[in-house]
Point group: C2
Chain length 186, copies 2
Amino acid sequence: MNSPIRRSRLEVSVLRIGHRFVRDDRVTTHIALVARALGCDRIFMNEVDKSIRSTLEEIIESWGGRYFNIEIIESWKSTIKDWKNGGGKIVHLTMYGLNIDEVIDDLRNCDKLLVVVGASKVPRELYQVSDYNVAIGNQPHSEIAALAICLDRIFNGKELTRQFDDAKLRIVPSHNEKKVLKNSGE
Amino acid sequence: MNSPIRRSRLEVSVLRIGHRFVRDDRVTTHIALVARALGCDRIFMNEVDKSIRSTLEEIIESWGGRYFNIEIIESWKSTIKDWKNGGGKIVHLTMYGLNIDEVIDDLRNCDKLLVVVGASKVPRELYQVSDYNVAIGNQPHSEIAALAICLDRIFNGKELTRQFDDAKLRIVPSHNEKKVLKNSGE
């Protein structure tokens, strides 16, 4: 069994900012699921619709990852300040930033990263307080896509084969069908 | 200037299936934007809300990529059949599939790939008609994330620095601000 990535040296959390009620619910749910699946420990979000938390909790209940933390925050500024005070670095994903290739070595050498993912326009101040403004391509596309590629690069693809120790359901990869094992010990 | 990926040997299109009106509009928009930004030539979709097409057309008008094709289809089965008859291969993204690492060399050696992205449950038949059922991790997360990582792997990261020749707007990557050039020749 692979050891979970959360025990590796590099700790990554996600901060979702600018969530708009209803309009952004599904996108924020995808962001949170990507964070869990691709190696993060935690997502910080402003107050969001209860359905987002319950979707995540259902996924975690079945597929594992109880350590994954959903933290509701009051202010993104305080979260960033606390993160920096704790020795962590801030990575803001934006199409205006430097190409991920230029900074990936620096990111991998950090101990603690907070990846900030905005919805629509973000406050200009965020560009200033971030240690890295990083573009996943300088084209408009999707904050979900940007987060996914960023995490895939940070963890060098290794998170895709990770196992969740506390999973009730486990997929047996197949070339042409759905195979799922149920953990009877749960 | 980089030569556009569409002129490279490998041609990639996306087929979105199972789109549900309203509920999936934003996710399908993200899928289409990711397809354009990350190196594809075309997206096939069932009839979708007009707002999706107009969002795409606005992005293309400003950021380039007029060759990018939005094709509205009647039946995914016919699209897949035509694609296969034209010598192309079908890549279905599913959490139940084989890890992308296992098939990536095969994919890169193809001439034409159709990447199929489902919303919610997909018909079982799709698993059978696909040449590759591919997992971007065997965990539930996001079809947008899966498509993004799949394309990033297929094009080996090179699509992130591509230029769109017909762009009116072009970003100058910056470590801490928004810099955009307007093409006065347009």
